[in-house]
Structure formats: structure tokens, C-alpha cells
Symmetry: none
Subunit: 418 residues, 2 copies
């Protein structure tokens, strides 16, 4: 099998009341098995809509995996859609009826009559056993496509996919494998990073290389197709090495690794500790660092000093520095970092002070102006960032926190090389 | 407009590496505007695939909203797809080019050459202004459908939807109105809150009443359908009053109002200030309080004291309190709150100390055990929470932060009544 469509059904999905996570999960598992998903489609709990998309899918794909609509109530229409599109009438499947009954009797209950319909399958279809719920799945050939229906409950869907669908797909996939890797970058925009690897991003290349941007982090994705995992891994290794040569320290981690995790890893390796002094970020940098289990090994604490008085009382920022240069200044950022390092007795300290907006800006100090500071065992310095008056408060704060973490990351990398 | 298709593009989506949350968000907003989404489709970053689905969508829907593929790199193909399907060539849109340039110049940078393509639009298309990023959106009629393209970055997509797409759709929706309202609750579980309003949740009632649970906040949703906004508003008002009578102080706010915003509103009304003393929450409470613009009016600062030494140095927690009762204890939580209130000179202070996990627990003090403290002008007290050893680090920290904020909220409500 080479081309899959993944279908989900549910009016709560089409109306957007629930986010569909099943389709991404199925597509990811199919990719690992070497089958590329070409399209995801979501339709409401309406027989015609389900029939329409199922018919289209069997014309374009050779594997169709549908989730949802196998429950016992009147808005569960997947069984009927499979029957209508295949032209095979629904008939009672004795073994499935036994399993539905057993599900209830194991829990000391009689099977409610409505659940009986869950044992109906189109003639000639195979039932997929559900070990954790009542609805059996359906597997049947319709036209040129193997069509699979699974329940929408994620835990049931996953169990049935692993125990039944994955072996079928693997047996048929003929050995092709699709493996992925992601390199996470910060410090430059998507277009600048794209320009550095433009030739690798050309269509038809294997591995396929693409970029994504989310919350200030640029991801470089590599997707390799090959006849074996080993071969796919080797292709990924080669391209990753090439991307790393070009992007160097712009890359801070891979796959799901966050910037704070990368900083934590470097601190742990260097056996150093960090504290933070935060004004505009309001505690976000400490929050990001402590999102990571075990961060108490290297994170000492933060002084979140929103008011000028707090800057003086918690961090010993001299009143004349604030009076002379302003709370949003390189001098205050430096004094905050130095103060946190001294008061909290850490090896490094990072600071952020700025104007997150939407108000509080001026011509000289517009919204989006942020100073980040870094105190190391040897020096204290500050950098000015202009994060844009229209970026919005959330983004200004997040970018400021990322820039402060990245400043520390580059310092730790540099001191490792020295 | 009555029937919409929502399309998302991205190979990271079709391969299941990223869960598509944009489509659900768009569909939910369209529903609120009276337009029902019939189908969601996701395709890869391939020109033919995007053109195919766009063409299909224009045949079946009268509104098509597509997200993704407007970036500056070669795998951003939505502009070209709109041009190909509409038969209108891409031309440079001068105002958009100015806006892309301005985005960079506000940040003190030259526009990188690749970003120039973001100002290309099919002839006769309208540009949708992007206030927080570089990619303008596209609005154009193709066949019988109004087709909209928005960037995939959720914050940009949301801003552009609200400022441009929503008004277009609202102007066209005509007739029936579907209005929604949400009451946000904390302090009890979803089933307990559901039990208090069970009769209102019956099917077929107008307004429809339902509950949702997300990140520890229980939302009570009211959806009213009527021939006019006034009528829908009146229906909502009546049911809201009924729900409020039953749930009382469990309700902290409505619609998008966060718990931290509700606390901020009460502090502002009372002209009081707050500081926080955080251990397991790592700065999260301060971060939540300062997510809100203008929070400097009532938020002084936080002492994030992860290590015992930091608790002593920043907050003057006596060493013998930590030695005698442990860092995770009611006594330490109280001493932290009292210390923050004194050191940061605020009217109130809230604290949290606990075991976020996954490691660090013991039989006597399991993962999920958290003490929250509250210091007021008159008293200091602490509460014990058991947030569950299997809830996970993220949820333990979030629930602890919410409980601390809610403790302060109830105190402020109580002192207002006294």
C-alpha cells in the first residue's frame, strides 16, 4: 500500500468543538509503516457525507482508515456507510455479538439492547476485535482500497490499530519505510534559515526538507523514504550533517526538545547553575526552565521584579541606575542579572526588562523594546531587542524569554569551546 | 453563506507530525457566526494536492477557509494554488510589500529578499492585513465561493480571522443567529458541576447547555439560536442567571476570561497589590498574573525559590522551619507567603510548594502533594492539595497555580462582602 486517506467522522469535529487528534496519530503510525497519508478528511455524522468521502477515498487511495461512528446510538453511521458504499448488506456477526455481550457480563451487567447493532457488519467484512470497549472495527476491500473503520475513542482506536491494522499494513507495505527527523532552530527568521538550505529544500529530493515556524522556533524537517529503516536512517544522517554544517549554532535541539531543555542539558553537562531576574517576562523564563523534570539540579530560582521597588529590594538594583537610565535599559538589565547571580548564588543569571505592551510605550522606548542581560562568573552584559510594537504581549514576552535562554545557550557553548 | 469547507495544508499535518488545531478553531468561529462547516480537509505542501482540494471546495461550499502555505519558502504554495485555480496570475501587491518591509524595519532589519514573494497576490484578490507577522492573507471569489487564505501560525490566523474574515462572514450570514456564552468555573470537578445543572443540560433545550473541561477549568457553555441577536441575548441572559444562582462563587468569569484576569480585576477594584512566592510552580503564578496587560497596577513581583537556600535568602524562610517540617509543608508554604508579603511589600501574597514529579515523591509526601499559602494584611494560612501522583508534571503545576489564585480570589470576594 502506498497512498492512504485518513477520515474522521463527528459533528463535534466539523463544528470545531473537539480537536481531532486521532487522524494525526493514525497518519504518524502509517508513515512509520511506510505508507504516506495524502489527505485527511473530517465529515459530520451524516450518512450521505460519510458515504461521499468513503467513495472518493476508495478512488484515490489504496488504504482508507476511518475513525468514529461505530457507537450504539442513532448518530453512529459508519457501519451503514460501509454497507452502502460496498453494496453489501449488514448482517449480524455472531462472534462480535458474543464479544459485546462478554464486555458487559464481565462488568456484571446485561448487554443493553441498543448495543446489539454494534455486532452488525457488511457481508464479507472482517471484524477487528476491540479489547477495551464494545465496538468492533471493520476491515473490508472496497474497490481497489482496503478500508478500515475504528472507533473514535483514542485508547480503543490505538489498541485496535496496533493489534490488527499495523500487522496488515506492514505485511503489505512491501518494505518501504518513511522516517522523519526535526532540527529546532532559533536566532534567525524562517526565510533566512530557508535561504541557507534552499538547495536541500528542492522538490523530489530524498530526504525531503521543509521548514515550519511556531512560536518563534523554526523547525527544519527531514522526511526520508527508503527500503529499510537502516537506509532511511543513513539518508537522514547524511542530510542532517549537511544541515548542521550550514546552520551551526542556530540549531539548538531535535524533535521535541525545547530551548529550555537544551539550556538545561548544557548546564547539567557543565555542572553550572542558573537563576533569572525577570521584569516584562513576569516569571516566564523560570516557568520554562522548570517545565523540565529534574531542573532543580541547575535552576536555583527567580526574582520576578515587576515594580521598581521590587528591583531594588530583591535584586539590589541601585536606585540611581533606574533613575538615570530607566527600568527598561541595558544598565538595569545588567544590574538585574548581576543582582540575581549574587543574591541567588548561581553561576549564571539571565534577565529581561522591557515593554510588553500594549500600553506603556513611548517614542524613545516603544512597545516591543526589551533588554536581556547575562551575568557569568566573569562578566555582565546586556543586549537590546526590538520585538515589534505590533507583535502582541504574548509574543513579545515569549520572544524575550527565548532570546534570554538563547543568550545563555550560546555562552555555554562558547565556554565549552574555549 | 451557509456551507463552509475548512482546508489546512502542510506535510507535517498529513504525516501526523503536528496536530491541526487551526481547523477546529476556524470551524468553531464560523459556527458562532452562523455558518456550518461541512468538511475539513488536510493536504500536503504539494501544489497539485492544494489545487485539487481548492477546486473541489469551490464546487461544494460557498465559503472556503484555508490555512497554511503563505510563508516565504519554496514549500509555501497557497498563493500559487489560488492563482492556478482562479486563473489569475500572481502580481506584486504594493501595499502588502510595504507592510512586509515595515515588519522588518520596525525590528531594525532589512527585509530578506525571499520575503518579497509574500507580497504576491492573484490579480483581483484582496490582501488581508497581518498585524503580527509577515504573510498577508488572501480573499477572493473563485466560482461560487468566497475563498480565504490565512497563515498557519495560530496567533496570526486568529488575529486576521477576527479583524477581517469574521466581519465579512457576519455581514453575509443573514437570518438565524447562533450566539454562545461560556461561564468559567473552578473549585469542583466537571461531574459535580454537571450535577448542579443537570436539568438545564437536557437535549433540545434552547439555549443548549453543555460542560467542557480543559486544563482544570470547567466551562459551562450556552448556545442560543434565535431570529435576532436581541432575542438570542435575552435567552442567554435568562439561562445565565439561572446557572449563576446555582453555581455561585464556583464561577469566576465568562468567555475568555482567565482565573488570573478575574483575580486581577478584584485586586484592581480593591486597590490592593499581590506578590507570589513559588517553589514547585517555578514562576508560573507570576507568569499567569502578568499575562494580563496592565498587571503592573497590582502585581509587585515574585520570588521563585526552587532551592532551600533561595527560600532562605530571598524570602527569609527560617532554616529551622524547612529543617523541622520540610520544604514541602504547610509551615514552609505559610512562611514563604509571609516572607514574600514582607519583602515585596504587597498587600497579599500567595505561595506554592510541592512535588511536581515525576520523581522526588515518597510515601509520606507523594508526587502531586502541594501546599499553597496565603498571606493577607491580617493572617497567614496554608492549604494542602493532593493533585494526584499520575496527573503529570504539567497538570500538577497548573492546578497548584490555579488553586493558589482561587484562594486569593475567594479571600478578595469574602473581604468585599464583610
Amino acid at each position: 500500500m502506498r497512498r492512504a486517506w485518513v477520515i474522521s467522522t463527528g459533528t463535534e469535529l466539523t463544528l470545531g468543538q473537539t480537536v481531532d487528534t486521532n487522524s494525526a496519530w493514525i497518519a504518524q503510525r502509517l508513515a512509520a509503516l511506510g505508507v504516506r497519508t495524502e489527505r485527511h478528511v473530517t465529515v459530520a455524522d451524516e450518512l450521505r457525507a460519510i458515504c461521499d468521502v468513503l467513495r472518493e477515498a476508495t478512488r484515490h487511495a489504496d488504504l482508507v482508515v476511518l475513525s468514529g461512528g461505530l457507537g450504539p446510538t442513532d448518530d453512529d453511521l459508519t457501519r451503514q456507510a460501509f454497507a452502502d458504499v460496498s453494496g453489501r448488506p449488514l448482517t449480524l456477526h455472531a462472534a462480535s455479538l458474543e464479544q459485546v455481550r462478554a464486555f458487559f457480563s464481565e462488568r456484571g451487567r446485561e448487554m443493553p439492547e441498543p448495543n446489539r447493532v454494534q455486532a452488525l457488519l457488511p457481508e464479507s467484512a472482517e471484524a477487528i476485535r476491540n479489547q477495551t470497549g464494545t465496538a468492533p472495527g471493520i476491515a473490508m476491500q472496497i474497490g481497489g482500497a482496503l478500508c478500515i473503520a475504528l472507533p473514535g475513542v483514542p485508547s480503543e482506536l490505538m489498541q485496535m490499530f496496533e493489534s490488527d491494522v499495523a500487522p496488515r499494513v506492514a505485511a503489505d507495505a512491501g518494505g518501504r519505510v518513511l522516517l522523519s527527523r526535526k532540527l529546532n532552530c532559533t536566532g534567525r527568521g524562517e526565510s533566512e534559515i530557508g535561504a541557507l538550505i534552499r538547495d536541500l529544500m528542492q522538490r523530489g529530493r530524498n530526504p525531503e526538507v521543509g521548514t515550519t515556524a511556531a512560536s518563534g522556533i523554526i523547525g527544519v524537517r527531514l522526511n526520508a523514504e527508503a527500503d529499510s529503516s537502516e537506509q532511511a536512517q543513513r539518508l537522514l544522517d547524511e542530510t542532517e550533517a549537511d544541515v548542521r554544517r550550514r546552520l551551526g549554532d542556530l540549531i539548538f535541539g531535535h524533535d521535541d526538545e525545547t530551548l529550555a531543555e537544551a539550556v538545561g542539558r548544557l548546564l547539567r553537562q557543565a555542572r553550572r547553575t542558573v537563576s533569572t531576574a525577570e521584569s516584562c517576562t513576569g516569571g516566564l523564563i523560570g516557568k520554562l526552565l522548570t517545565d523540565i523534570a529534574g531542573s532543580s539540579d541547575y535552576f536555583v530560582g527567580s526574582a520576578v521584579t515587576y515594580s521598581n521597588q521590587a528591583k531594588q529590594r530583591l535584586l539590589n538594583v541601585p536606585a540611581d541606575v533606574i533613575a538615570g537610565h530607566g527600568a527598561v535599559s541595558a544598565e538595569t538589565a545588567s544590574a538585574m542579572a548581576a543582582g540575581a547571580r549574587a543574591v541567588l548564588a548561581s553561576d549564571y543569571a539571565i534577565s529581561a526588562t522591557g515593554i510588553a505592551g500594549p500600553s506603556g510605550g513611548s517614542a524613545a522606548k516603544p512597545v516591543g523594546l526589551v533588554f536581556i542581560g547575562l551575568a557569568t562568573p566573569k562578566t555582565v552584559r546586556a543586549h537590546e531587542l526590538q520585538l515589534g510594537a505590533t507583535s502582541g504581549r504574548v509574543m513579545v514576552r515569549l520572544r524575550a524569554a527565548q532570546a534570554a535562554l538563547n543568550l545563555l545557550r550560546l555562552e555555554l557553548l562558547g565556554s565549552r569551546r574555549r
